[in-house]
Amino acid sequence: MIFDATLRPAFTALLRNKARSMLTMLGIVIGVAAVIVTVAIGTGARISVQKSIASLGSNLIVVQPGSITQGGARSGFGGASTLTPADGLAIAQLPGVAAVSPVVSLRTQVVAGGNNWQTFVSGVAPTYSYIRAWPVASGRFFNQSDVQAIAKVAVLGQTVVTQLFPGQSSPIGASVLIKGTPFTVIGTLSPLGQSAMGQDQDDVILIPYSSAMERLTGLKTVNSLMVSSAQASQIDEVQSAITALLVRRHRIVPPEPNDFQVRNLQAIAQAAGSTAQVMEVLLASVAAVSLIVGGIGVMNIMLVSVTERTREIGLRMAVGAPGRSILQQFLTEAIALSSVGGVIGVVVGALGALLVSVLAHWPTQIPLPWVALAVGFAALVGIFFGYYPARKAAALNPIEALRFE
């Protein structure tokens, strides 16, 4: 009954004045659309930053040597050479660990045919391709038997390919001299582009870590261990499990400091993301101000409407409408105006976001909670700004209202 006595008259009244209702809604439409577009751009930017960081590897954890103190001098991170491939094998046995790869890296001059080039050579495990989500573009990645055989095989990054083999269709099968040792090219890596820090990630040669240790560095230790956790949600537990394992394996007795450190890239991604989120909220609040301006437009029109329909209100009261019924009718009208405006605003905002991504090639994404928030806020604006005119209508004296010209 309440539904019947308020909702129907409210919608009938709005439909009777279509042009006016549309113009009043426009304020709300623009407000909501502005919120949706700014949030869509902000969220799109944040997600693309996170994606580019995530491209470093899925659920990546990096174990690096820590600092050691010798004769009172602390070496700084990386000073300790204590991480071994055996540590990596032990970590691989931990629950929640998907893959582990040791990394032995060195910067050196490489030669192929008449060309030479200064690049990074990384000794890694076959799992590295999976950990970094970095497939080969041609040929193959080295496998476990290559590692065991300390094979002289190499997989080249795209930058190295263009520098060492310019104009050649495929470098596979060719030979590359690394520190005087010839390595056979068995594959090339797909291009990754620049890292989040602006480094050319394709300027690299990957070889089996055993070959790097045995034939290039001559050391028993590695520069770091890259670990991939099975699930992003487990990353913290895996990290502490690795810490506990290495403390045991390296026989570290507190208060002795750890000779290693464990970091994950998710934390870095989150930091970058939260900066973007602050911007997004800031922009959305500015847009929300226009929503409030739209609400004032609703109040203005509702006041006009109440004055215009004074006789109608008087008649409704004369035939027995209680004050609260009149209040509900006008409040419903205001809420209907602003929530319908809100829904249209979401549609317009979504189209705007689409336009931005098509024309400006900015990544956009509309998060659903924000859609609900924007529409809900629009309805709230309707209640807030509709209450005063509605109460004014309900407080009218029926005799005077009927006499109103």
Binding site: M1, D4, A5, T12, R16, R311, E312, G314, L315, R316, M317, A318, V319, G320, A321, P322, G323, R324, S325, P398, I399, L402
Partner: protein, 234 residues
């Protein structure tokens, strides 16, 4: 049987700024069921104020008002609205039909506030229009009807909730003589054939002549109250 309206010592004083204006100065009147009473008087005689109080749009400053035996002189606005919605019907000079609304929807309006379900509402409203012979106007909008037709729709609206009393405030004030006579004949017929109690307010003698009883107001008091032995019937 309880009288429909029973007022004793009814007074109404308005305050306009510093000045107090007495609109009613002590009115006693009793209207029984099935009566057709015309209230006459010049402007400022208090007849409109009287109708507003009897119609429960306003409350008296002092005195008592019993409606169907119940003291209604001290009710709140919402309590009065509830009685209006179920026991009273209004007919106004300017019809007061809702703009851009069909005749049927106008007739349904009082039922909306008397908690009738939608389907039932339309049925009751249609039946009432049929009784008045205006069912063909059901889908007409206010601006598509003549004054006489609009007033008939307004009468159907006043009757739709089966009221104990119809209050007609200058119902022919905006109509020509011929249409006025038709509308007044309709009131007479409703009173005679359906036993509907009517309180008519008018300042025209030939309109009041349709009533069975004529009450004259002057300066907030009743100056005459007599049975109309020359009742017009169209």
């Amino acid at each position: 049987m309880e009288p429909v309206v029973d007022v004793r010592g009814l007074r109404k004083i308005y305050t306009l700024g510093q000045e107090e204006i007495g609109a009613l100065a002590g009115v006693d009147l009793r209207i029984d069921a099935e009566e057709f009473v015309a209230v006459m008087g010049p402007s400022g005689s208090g007849k409109s104020t009287f109708m507003q109080i009897v119609g429960m749009l306003d409350s008296p400053s002092s005195g008592s008002y019993h409606f169907e035996g119940r003291d209604v002189s001290r009710l709140t606005a919402d309590e009065r609205a509830a009685i209006r919605s179920s026991r009273l019907g209004f007919v106004f000079q300017s019809y007061n039909l809702l703009a851009r609304t069909t005749a049927l929807e106008n007739v349904e309006l009082p039922l909306l506030y008397a908690t009738h379900p939608v389907r039932e509402r339309e049925q009751i409203a249609r039946a009432q229009m049929q009784l008045l012979g205006i069912e063909h106007l059901a889908k007409h909008f206010s601006n598509q009807m003549s004054g006489g037709q609009q007033q008939r729709v307004a009468i159907a609206r006043a009757l739709v909730n089966g009221p104990a009393l119809i209050l007609a405030d200058e119902p022919t004030g905006a109509l020509d003589t011929k249409t006025s006579d038709e509308v007044m004949a309709l009131f007479g017929e409703l009173n005679r054939e359906r036993g509907i109690t009517i309180l008519l307010v008018t300042h025209e003698a030939d309109i009041a002549a349709y009533a069975k009883r004529i009450v004259r107001f002057r300066d907030g008091l009743i100056i005459s109250d007599r049975i109309n032995d020359q009742q017009r019937a169209a």
